[in-house]
Amino acid sequence: MAKELWKGNEAIAEAALRAGVEAYFGYPITPQTELLEYMAREIPKYPGRVFLQAESELAAVNMVYGAACAGVRVLSSSSSPGISLMTEGLSYIAGTEVPAVLVDIMRGGPGLGNIMPSQGDYFQMTKSLGHGDFHPIVLAPSTVQEAVDLTYGAFELAETYRTVVVILADGAIGQMMEPVVMPPARPVMTEEERADWALRGAKDRERRILTSLHMNAEGLERMNLGLQSKLARIQRNELRWQETMTDDAEVLMVAFGTAGRICSSVVQSARRAGLKVGLLRPISLWPFPEQRLLELAERVQQILVVEMNAGQMVLDVKAAVAGRAPVHFYGRLGGVVPLPDEISQQIDKLVSQPAGAGYKTGASNGFGHATVVPAGDARAEGRI
């Protein structure tokens, strides 16, 4: 397969089409809109598939919910504020246990924030994508190719576990162009391949009901315990991460998505400078590769978590390593993307300072000095 140059948002859309997505519902929001526009342009070329621009993300997620109940492969995409509007529907989808795939091309927040790349939705995605006890599967690509591959596999994953799968990228990945090898196009599901719970009309069978409502407490507890055991299976089976030079690392960086990609170049420059630096890049943010982090924490001297937020994943890292190694944090906010040099400076500080001096506490105060936003940087002209 030849490599072609693809823009992140469009590549994700194309990957979904090749995975046999049958319906797309969405609402325009920067920096995700090209995904919707690509679907608007391409889906009409596939007879029987559905593109519909909804009146809001509220409506979009409920259109997704309906199509998911019909047992078709369905996708929506949005960016941070739109995801906030979708959370009620996502909770219903999780509670009803129907499969759906969602793309979040994160932007700076809170509020209207800005349209620059950010990782500020980590908490929302991994911890509270709606009311009640559930987690979606959250996959964070760091390149356009990886976004394509994760999207392509996301539908099967959603169907296997009857759950929400989120592709969590940011404006940088959505907007950048990179060479990509596209996967082969799969046909859409046949009527025979439809799930045995799908609402297709009660012809020659008992009627089916899909609901998240369980009025009695024991019934809802039973449902929740079932949900929890499914989540535990996901935690066992669906962990994904990538390691770079962790074998002999003394300083372990942990970063996902765009920050992870930047940190991998920091590893290279640090190694050239003779510093034993490695990187663990979680790809599945939920489930989170905690066991592997714990193993590495036994061996390394310092851990540096780098995020484009005020310190969200760092809490999961701390929980995972359970005090086995000091955990430091470096973050940039508001859509500011950290430069490799800034991160290298953080590493220099860590290695020049004995582990006992001030860093052992694991206090994650590393972003304090970094919040000074260069004028004009984050307030680019906006199609908000």
Binding site: N62, G66, A67, A68, A70, L199, G201, I209
Partner: protein, 274 residues
């Protein structure tokens, strides 16, 4: 003792196949159940049971899917038209209907119903207007009458504070994508029969692919109106109908043949009365 030979008798009344044999959870005298029955009869008469999908609301009818012997699901509060859109768009040959209360459709879900109508979705909407939020214990709805006492308008609906009741059939009838929009009532037999006829037309409109069809049904809530079932029906006639006139608010030309009406669909004010 002689056994009755059923073969000698005609069945004149039985449960429609489209309804399940379960106990009702509705309050005594509530007309939600009656409206369910009308829908069930219509589904049977049109022979669409195996082809129909019900989208239940959040409201007293939250368990609607338990009563209809068709595939069913449960939408978040107010979102049924969006969820139904998702279902219908991926299965255009199925019959999809929503069943929604006035809090569900006329308050939290106004955006979804207006845009489903705007797109001309081939959906049937059964809109049950009982002038309050029944399920949550009788709070004020956008449809609550002026001066009507509810738990959240304990001094009566105050127009200065919250404005006038919202007339949904009138509102939706201004949207071209909604091709059949009528208001009916179930407070007496004559009107029950008219309601059933309208529900049938509404489903036929969908089956003919003519766009959104909506039947607003004035319905009783004796529990939260603090009335006997009888006086609640009387209150529909005396208090509700003057504010919510029964009639056909929009019958698109293409729908006209389905209604088998003798009169033209629209009078000057768009209401034909009845």
């Amino acid at each position: 003792m002689t056994l009755i030979d059923l073969a000698n008798y005609d069945v004149v009344y039985r449960r429609p196949e489209a309804l399940t044999n379960v106990q009702t959870h509705y309050c005594p005298g509530c007309t939600h159940g009656l409206i369910h029955r009308l829908i069930g009869e219509v589904i049977d008469e049109l022979g669409i049971r195996e082809n129909t999908i019900c989208v239940a609301p959040v409201g007293c009818a939250v368990f609607a899917y338990n009563y209809f012997n068709v595939d069913g699901c449960e939408a978040p509060h107010g979102r049924a038209p969006a969820m139904a859109t998702g279902i219908k768009r991926v299965m255009p040959d199925r019959v999809v209907f929503t069943y929604q209360g006035d809090g569900d459709l006329a308050a939290i879900g106004t955006n979804e119903i207006i845009h489903a109508a705007g797109r001309g979705e081939d959906l049937t909407v059964i809109f049950v207007n009982n002038a309050n939020y029944g399920m949550t214990g009788g709070q004020m709805a956008p449809t609550t009458l002026v001066g009507q006492v509810t738990t959240s308008s304990p001094y009566g609906r105050d127009v200065e504070l919250v404005g006038m009741p919202m007339r949904v059939a009138e509102l939706i009838s201004t949207i071209p994508g909604a091709s059949y929009v009528v208001r009916r009532s179930v407070h007496n037999v004559a009107n029950i029969n008219k309601t059933k006829a309208a529900i049938k037309t509404a489903f036929q409109v969908q089956m003919a692919g003519l766009g959104l069809s909506m039947v607003e049904v004035l319905s009783s809530c004796p529990t939260n109106w603090h009335m006997t079932p009888d006086s609640a029906l009387q209150w529909i006639e005396d208090a509700m109908i003057p504010v919510y006139p029964l009639g056909d608010y929009r019958v698109a030309d293409a729908v006209e043949p389905l209604t088998k009406r003798r009169q033209p669909a629209h009078q000057q004010n768009g209401v034909t009365g009845g």
